[in-house]
């Protein structure tokens, strides 16, 4: 697998990247204004935020740990958008990946088996939306929202009922020690490496395989894809399935790779929300695997830094969500770059 860096960069849209940076800047700017308005010191808040995320080995490890699951769910969303669909079902597949890891590693305590079953169940949960889209023309946003909720309640039932830990029913049964992902220090497991490899593979899939070619072609122009002998329907199917697989992997690794509990908590608190966050990551990363790695690290950083920010600057951690929300809304503004240029020019004139 030999490829030059410039080739990857070419597939990334530079202007879009700049727009993401602008969005991040606006997010921080408005965050600062809000902080200032409430009598907090934004500079100190941001200083400690970055200090917490990057100022120590542990901080960096935390950043990487937080970046892992959202990197995978973001890849799910990106595979969708590259194929021209709005797959927001990463959330549901993530739950199933997590519960699959719990169930199957307790049947056979093998790491690879757990990961494989996580991916399988994640992909399975993506299937209904795929089939509804291809055969019934049901818009994927509606079907995936519904499936996310159905999956949520179903998994909640599994973890409170059949898979509750009899010795400590506040969580599910734990992943057996032999099946856990090896730790590489500071609470960080090899999950991050697998996630980066998954991003690289996703890049490889999209830009170096026939399947990826037809997925991208179908996403940009289904008519031309059909003309080119491809099947847009098949591409959509694969996009859902592979997307579910990635999120399933994310869910499995969340539980198998993250201590100290190695189990799903009651109420699913440690498996909730990663699919939704992944959408933001993917959008900021411009739906490109490389951009997603960077955006996931950025979002991970925001979360890793909150402890020190709270402790030293006494700033409530929710400000991070405010900033994230503003970034995503800003990213949603089409042609942001040109818009800002136009406004700036007007301002200068």
């Amino acid at each position: 697998m030999k490829k030059s860096g410039s080739e990857i960069l070419e597939s990334l849209n530079i202007k879009a990247l700049i727009e993401s940076l602008i969005a991040i800047f606006i997010g921080f700017l408005i965050g600062a204004i809000v902080l200032g308005a409430f009598g907090y010191d934004p500079l100190s808040a941001y200083y400690w935020l970055f200090q917490g995320a990057l100022g120590s080995t542990y901080g960096i490890a935390s950043t990487l740990r937080y970046a892992t699951p959202i990197m995978l769910t973001a890849l799910t969303f990106a595979l969708g958008t590259r194929t021209g669909i709005f797959n927001i079902g990463a959330e549901g597949s993530f739950y199933f990946g997590a519960i699959a890891a719990v169930i199957f590693t307790n049947i056979w305590a093998n790491m690879w088996f757990g990961l494989a079953m996580g991916m399988l169940l994640g992909a399975l949960w993506a299937l209904p939306a795929a089939a509804l889209k291809v055969y019934r023309g049901v818009h994927e946003v509606i079907s995936t929202i519904m499936l996310n909720w159905i999956g949520w309640f179903f998994v909640l039932w599994l973890i409170v009922g059949p898979y509750a830990n009899p010795n400590d029913p506040n969580k599910t049964i734990r992943i057996p020690i032999e099946a856990r992902l090896p730790n590489i220090g500071y609470g960080l497991s090899i999950a991050i490496i697998i996630a980066v490899i998954a991003a690289a593979l996703t890049y490889f899939l999209l830009w170096h395989t026939t399947l990826g070619f037809s997925m991208r072609a179908s996403g940009m122009n289904p008519k031309a894809a059909r003309y080119g002998g491809m099947s847009p329907k098949k591409a959509v199917m694969w996009s859902f399935i592979l997307g579910g697989l990635l999120s399933g992997l994310g869910g499995a690794m969340k539980i198998m790779g993250e201590g100290p509990t190695y189990a799903i908590s009651q109420g699913g608190a440690n498996i909730y929300g990663f699919g939704f966050d992944g959408i933001g990551v993917s959008l900021v990363g411009r739906n490109h695997p490389l951009g997603i790695i960077l955006a996931a690290l950025f979002f991970g950083m925001l979360r890793a830094g909150t402890a020190l920010m709270q402790a030293e600057a006494q700033v409530p951690l929710e400000i991070i969500k405010v900033i994230q929300g503003i970034i995503v809304i800003t990213v949603a503004i089409p042609g942001l770059y040109d818009l800002i240029k136009k406004v700036a020019r007007r301002g200068a004139a």
């Binding site: 209904p128 509606i142 959008l283 929300g325 809304i329 949603a332």
Partner: protein
Amino acid sequence: MDLGAIISILFMSLMAMVPIVLTSVGAAWSERAGVVSIGYEGVLLMSAFFGAIFAELTGHATIGLLGGILVGILLGMLHGAITVYLKGDHVIPGIGINLLALGVVPFGILAYWGTAGQHQLPLNAQMWHISTQYGELSPMVGVTIVIAVVTWWVLFKTPLGLRVRSVGENPEAADALGINVEKYRFWSTVYGHALAGLGGAYMSVDWLGLVHKTMSGGRGFIALANMVFSGWNPLVSLIGGWLFGFFDALASWLAPKHIIPGQFILMLPYIMTLIIVAGIIGKARPPKWDGRPYKRE
């Protein structure tokens, strides 16, 4: 189950339906005009929060409700600006609004009241209720029914409604007849979000009398399900929303009897919606240009 119990369940379901119905009716109107939003969950949450602040500052629950509407209007304008005028994607801003709400509300509760996560409203900021021996009813139940009926009537019986629907079905046709597609779409979005804003404020200043950082509890999504379920029809949304409220109340009622796991009851609305959109029973067809930006050639 005696009569009292039935009336009581009825009251509970009427109170519970308000935010769902208002949001569904608003969303139905907005989608009839061709603008999709999945940000109603965030709108509900933020308007519950800001509505409570308005109510407390003025000591009038009605001002709180108006404040909720105002928040809805502002968010609707933001969504409308991005989707209608800038021709942006219809789904992404909603994701951002939902995310923003999850930050703004907990942060705001802490920053404004100094308590984390929740705040109880003083009595003078809470809506007056009609009390009976079977439970309470808010005047907002009546308002909601009136809004649903009037919205339905306007949408299906008046020139305004005809134009709104034409803009969502075939903007080209509407444009050719001199209907300003962008204007109708924009204000329809604003109206949709304003109703959701009213529903959110109702939750805090009326129904529950408190603000909690996750109080929307998925109702924004239930409302979307209900909208689809009701075939984008405000009047059916009223009935559908009441049914959701009814099943919710019934589930609460049945819960102490412990017949089936609660999680399965909670799943029902979503499963039903999925079945309906799949066309397995009934027929649900969205407006033809729903979610598509319209650009004149």
